[in-house]
């Protein structure tokens, strides 16, 4: 068990770092494309200069993202060989197609970087589009694989083994649809918030006032508003789907231990006692039923319908509540900033200063979201088919080198963000940017 927990810690640590590079590699090219088109239409040299900075960010992030993704692939093979053995017949295609999307992104990034000022601005913008499409595409395919792990479909199982598969059904399920839209819109939102956050930081730090970062904050707040709306809407429908499709995980997220035929209460800040009963916190009668089924008469399954050994880690309830609190704070800030910019065409200090933290908040929200979905599936690696303990390698020496990886990921992350800081500095010097 200790080796298993080590392996879990190692994998979650690697994925925790990798997701930062991955989401920024999707979100930043998305923003880059928007702003480049804006700069072309408005013939704005200042915004185009900023796009060049984002292009350099994308290159730095791609260098880190390539290697972190490679490490993840290696870890799957050497730490979780039984997982690979189980899922490959059904969704191995997803892993393979991901690499194609990745190849598309990388090649167009190379062409985009080298063709600056060597092709027409509009053609250059067109060359940049597949960067975002490829990055998003790789996220789509790997999320489809994750959806299969959470809710296996399109397969026939016998004796714990998958004996036949319908690859299309396995990869492209309803679970995948919800997961993909919710997560990809979240990544785009993170990219938008990271750029807005940077502009707010520079607005605070620069000695002279410049309208360019204000415009960037304003545009990013509009984009963030749209994406928050999309992510929240699909999140709501995703939650309703989760209640019926993965009721065990849903019950753990909402800390619902008893089953309800109707009027299931929504509990905030509750706890589960030694008897396995949820208690304490703020209880709102009937709200959970309404959220799940648009009616107070909607039934909700509680955790007690499963043996205690099959309960997911209940910490996901606290993670979920923390995530929602951060989402609320972020949404309030984005709405206020977007409204003020729309109304007054500027962003006051009392909004632009707090806007500095939105980039970090976005990343934290994504990390918490992935924790919820992954911890919530435990003790299974593939829900109902393969337990995490059975997916892990039987070679105990596998963990002897393991401690090196978190250290290396930390080194890579620090180096990447230091490189971004230096890139910013060089860019400001090269273009005489004073903000």
């Amino acid at each position: 068990m200790e080796e298993l927990n080590w392996g879990r810690a190692l994998m979650s640590d690697s994925l925790g770092f990798h997701i930062i590079f991955a989401l920024l590699s999707i979100g930043v090219p998305f923003v880059m494309s928007i702003l480049e088109l804006y700069a072309i239409r408005k013939k704005s040299e200042k915004v185009m200069q900023f796009v060049k900075l984002l292009a350099r960010w994308t290159v730095v992030l791609a260098v880190a993202g390539v290697i972190s993704g490679t490490i993840i692939a290696f870890q799957f093979a050497i730490l979780w060989p039984h997982y690979i053995e189980t899922v490959s017949p059904a969704v191995g295609i997803g892993f393979q197609l991901e690499t194609y999307a990745f190849l598309l992104e990388a090649i167009f990034l190379a062409w985009y970087t080298l063709s600056w000022n060597k092709v027409s601005p509009f053609k250059h913008w067109l060359i940049g589009l597949p960067i975002f499409i490829g990055a998003a595409g790789s996220a789509v395919f790997i999320t489809c694989v994750n959806a299969f792990m959470n809710s296996p479909t399109g397969i026939v199982v016998e004796g714990g083994k998958i004996i036949s598969t319908n690859v299309v059904q396995a990869l492209f399920s309803w679970t995948a649809l919800f997961e993909v839209i919710h997560s990809v819109s979240g990544y785009l939102l993170c990219g938008v918030l990271a750029v807005g956050s940077f502009a707010a930081w520079r607005l605070w730090r620069s000695k002279t006032f410049s309208n360019t970062p204000v415009r960037i904050i304003g545009i990013m707040s509009y984009a963030a508003l749209l994406l928050i709306g999309l992510t929240a809407t699909i999140g709501h429908f995703s939650t309703q789907y989760l209640a019926s499709n993965q009721p065990r995980k849903f019950a753990a997220i909402q800390l619902t231990t008893e089953s309800y035929e109707k009027n299931a209460p929504y509990r905030i800040l509750g706890e589960v006692n030694a008897n396995g009963d949820a208690e304490g916190g703020i209880v709102i009668p009937g709200l959970l039923s309404f959220m799940v089924g648009n009616s107070f008469d909607a039934p909700v399954q509680g955790l007690k319908e499963w043996p205690r050994s099959e309960w997911p880690m209940l910490i996901i309830n606290k993670i979920f509540e923390a995530k929602m609190a951060i989402v609320g704070l972020l949404s309030a800030l984005v709405v206020a900033t977007a409204f003020w910019f729309w109304r007054f065409k500027t962003v006051p200090k009392w909004l632009s200063r707090p806007f500095i933290i939105v980039g970090a908040l976005g990343i934290i929200i994504v990390e918490l979201g992935w924790m919820i979905t992954e911890f919530g599936r435990q003790p299974y690696a593939v829900a109902g088919i393969l337990k995490t303990a059975d997916a892990f390698t039987k070679d105990n020496s596998a963990l002897q080198l393991g401690i090196i990886f978190p250290i290396l990921f930390l080194v890579l992350t620090v180096t990447t963000f230091s490189a971004l800081v230096i890139v910013n500095r060089k860019w400001r010097k090269e273009y005489g940017v004073d903000w």
Partner: protein
């Protein structure tokens, strides 16, 4: 079908080795010629695209040899871990040397480590390849080629999309920049 499968694994791997070999030679030549002292003779960051070939080969191998993975994982563990560690250090050093360091005068030791982190994964890759090939031979198991037609179709579609940038990359690299179009930026003064 197995021939096709192994072509799809080994050809990209061979291309990767050629590209990575070039990077390795460049990193060694920087040390030997002293070019590191003035920050020249480096491989452009866009060359990182070649690393996708390694991931591609590895993923195809892993997912089509899935029934063998429990047997292969223990013998792969050490060489793959060494490759992983070396490539991560290489990436961190690359970012430090060419993006994160404001002066070209990084210590010679750093450049030496950078060159070493090219040689180590090549050696580990050769070692891993040999032990894995030996084990596959012993196991007498066949890879899973059931969905190879989907993989091939995906490859053809991807190559079709990539053939344009691939054909234009070299000529774009050689072209001179055009004159930028005039800007109509007007700095509107708004109260902060």
């Amino acid at each position: 079908m197995e021939t096709l499968l192994y072509s799809m694994i080994l050809v990209p791997l061979a291309l990767y080795l050629i590209a990575f070999g070039y990077e390795t030679l460049m990193s060694i030549s920087r040390l030997v010629s002293g070019a590191y002292q003035h920050g020249s003779a480096f491989v452009h960051a866009t060359w990182e695209v070649t690393h996708t070939l390694l991931v591609y080969s590895f993923v195809i191998f892993m997912t089509t040899h899935s029934t063998m993975m429990p047997a292969l994982a223990p013998i792969m563990f050490v060489p793959v871990s060494i490759i992983a560690i070396a490539l991560m250090l290489r990436a961190a050093l690359y970012l430090y040397l060419f993006y994160g360091n404001e002066s070209p005068k990084a210590p010679k030791l750093v450049h030496f480590l950078f060159a070493l982190m090219h040689i180590v994964p090549l050696v580990a890759l050769a070692w891993g390849g040999v032990v894995v090939a030996q084990k596959i031979n012993q196991l007498h198991m066949t890879p899973n080629t059931d969905h190879l037609w989907i993989v091939c179709t995906g490859l053809l579609i991807t190559l079709a999309f990539c053939v344009i940038p691939l054909s234009r990359l070299y000529s774009t690299f050689k072209e001179k920049p055009q004159q930028p179009t005039p800007s109509s930026d007007t700095e509107k003064t708004l109260s902060p």
